[in-house]
Every structure is written in C-alpha cells, then in structure tokens.
Symmetry: C2
Subunit: 221 residues, 2 copies
C-alpha cells in the first residue's frame, strides 16, 4: 500500500497508433474485458510506472500491442477531466504513433482480449473520452502533413512516389495532382532514388525511393 498526505490522481498514457491499410487511415483499438466500459473498444494504454518516463510508458504500450519499435511517437495532449474515468481520478497523457504497414505483427489476443484495426471514419463507440483523443490526433497528423515530412514515417524502407502520394491523399482525404506532388516532394530533398524499380501489375514499373534521413521528421517551408 502507498499512502500520501494529500490525494494523488492516477496517471496513464493512451496511445493512438495509426497505420495505413487498404487505402484507409486506421487506428489500433482494444476491446475492454472489464468494467467500466466492458466490451467497448478503447485505445491501448495503461498506468505509468512510478519511475518510468512518460514516453517510455507510451513506447511500452506500443511495443506490447504491436511489437514494433523505432517508430515515430509524439506527445499529443493531456486529458484530465475529473470525471473521465468513473473509478478514480485518472489523468492521461495521450501520444500518437505512426507505424508502417509492413512492420506490423499485432500480437494476436496476447491476453485473451480482442485487438483490431479500425478505419478512422467508421469507429465503434469508444470507452472514456477516447473518441476525442483520436479526433485530436487525426487533426494533428493532417496538420503536420502540410508543414513537415511526417508522412514518410508511414513508408517502408523502399516505396514508390505513387504510394507516397496515396498516403497524402488518404490522410488529407483529397486528391492531389501527380506532377505537382512529385515536384513538391522531390524539392524537399528528403528522399532519393534507389536506382531500382518494382514491377507490379500490368503497367509500367515504378521507380523505388528511400528516405535520406529515415528516422527524422523535418519541418518544411
């Protein structure tokens, strides 16, 4: 037991894990096995250990649920409405992560709970205030596309310009002009040709590109 002279809130991290699948922006959700919000879907998350850095706690959740490491992770916002959890006062530091589709190996039912990817525009009813958290994360992600190279964090080691354009179009939910897109991206000097190309379907093979600074997200303009 742990006692304090004045009441302390519980502190958790929740993490919005984004990926792109089937041309849709998806988030990872977990079905709750217990009350409150039993059977509702919710964001992965959990209590911050007493000697654990916040970002480390978020990375731990990410690792436990997806098995991935070394992906983009950023603090989003801290949610602390007194009644957001009916059990006790819980303050949650929300993070969001971007996971390339090809590095995914969801731990299937690691502790007998359901885990799944849901398209952002058709989410189930969510536990707590997790709908607000996802909404905010989506807005932040879309905003960052405009002024940073964050979209590259969704890409595998090698990718085509067509695939990258699809990422932008999916997140921004709009179509882009191919020539303008290529001009803009190449002018950023953040990707380079591998020299190889990939045959894929009954059409001209596409040149492959790689990131110049893989882990880095740079601001542009």
């Amino acid at each position: 037991m742990h006692t304090y002279a004045f009441p302390h809130p519980a502190v958790t991290t929740d993490i919005v894990i984004f990926t792109l699948q089937d041309g849709q922006l998806k988030v990872l959700l977990i079905q709750r096995a217990h009350e409150p919000y039993k059977d509702h879907w919710s964001l992965p998350g959990g209590f911050v250990e007493i000697d654990e850095d916040l970002e480390v706690a978020a990375l731990r959740e990410l690792q436990e649920e997806t098995g991935v490491t070394g992906v983009y992770l950023e603090q989003l916002y801290t949610f602390g409405q007194p009644d957001r959890d009916p059990r006790e006062r819980v303050i949650s530091i929300a993070y969001y992560a971007l996971v390339p589709n090809d590095s995914l190996h969801i731990r299937a039912d690691s502790d007998a709970k359901n885990v799944g990817w849901f398209a952002c525009h058709q989410l189930p009813v969510l536990a707590f205030d997790h709908d607000r958290i996802i909404e905010l994360a989506r807005n932040r992600l879309a905003a960052k596309l405009e002024y940073s190279t964050i979209a590259l964090q969704f890409m595998p080691a090698e990718f085509t310009l067509g695939e990258l354009q699809k990422v932008y179009e999916t997140i921004l939910d709009s179509t882009l002009d191919k020539r303008n897109f290529r001009k803009r991206i190449l002018a950023l000097d953040c990707i380079e040709q591998t020299g190889t190309s990939r045959r894929d379907g009954k059409h001209r093979p596409a040149r492959l590109f790689r990131r110049i600074a893989p882990g880095k997200v740079e601001f542009i303009k």
Copy 2:
C-alpha cells in the same frame, strides 16, 4: 492520509505567463521560499486538486499570481521525467498564458515570496526543468504568430497598428516592413477601426483599432 494499491505520482500544473513590457517579451517568475531549489526562480504552479480540471488548476494559478481572468490560456506540454523533482515523482502539465500589459496587477508578495517579470532573453537560473518549459513556450508562441491571430491576445481593448507591429517584432525578434504588415493584418479582417485616434507625443495621432472577435484566436492561411 490517502492510500492506494499502487504508487501514484503527484500532478501539478506550471504556467508560463507572458506579457510585453518595455518592448520585451517577459515571463512571470516566483522566487522559491523552500527547498528544493530554495531561492531559485521558478514558474508559478502547484498541485492539481483531486476534483479539479487541469485547465481550471492553471487558471487558478494564473488568477492567484496576476489577478487576471479571461485571458488566453493553452496547454503546452506535459513534463514527466522521473527525476525532475527530487522529492517525489511529479508530473507537470505546463500551460502558457498571454496577458495584455494593461490588465496587470501582480499581487505584491501575496505570501511573502518574491514575484517578478523577467525578459525572456535574460532569465535567471531556474528551478527544476523550468528553463526547458519556457523555451518550448517561446517557440510555440513564435510559431503561432505565423499562422494564427494569437498576437491580438496581448493587446488592450484599443490599440494602434504601430503597437501591434511592435508586438510581432518583439516576439519574432526581427523588424517588419510597415506597409506590408498593415496590408497583411487588415486583410485578415480580425480588427476594425474605432473611428477615433490617439495623440501621443510629438507626431501625427494614430488611428485606434479594436479586435472584431476579442476572445477568439483564429487560424490563418
């Protein structure tokens, strides 16, 4: 005493209160009366009450230290390194506030502690990680000048375009072209002439403007 099955961190809010004085961007600091960091300067802040919303806690600190209400307040970032406070694990949700210079009445020595405004570019040695917090707040503020009307939150009810330009120049630490500045600001449709002007010194009187939507910070571009 308050007892929990597993250890809980303490949660505080710290608040970076900005104002403009003498053509300088300043922040409000408080001299600590007790250990740790006794006599060091620090940000105003304190523990979040167990049933208190985070923003309400920040507003309370703001009110206690400056007496102002109804000013711009925004959550900045949450700092939670395990060793940032030597006493116990303390997670701090940092906010920043923008206070028009004319609405200031610092409570002088409300509880026998020193309070003062310090220019951002000549801060004293600060307690905890408060130097990092202020640095981040400054960057956020400067960034927001470029894509929102946040600068208006520093202005009193009526102001001249010259005064508003000075605000931009101070925060961005650069000089701006007068004609281009006026064109840009007026095109935003966020301020309007009061119809009056103000005589002030030995030169032509300046037209006065007011905000069209005083409390609102709009995104531009």
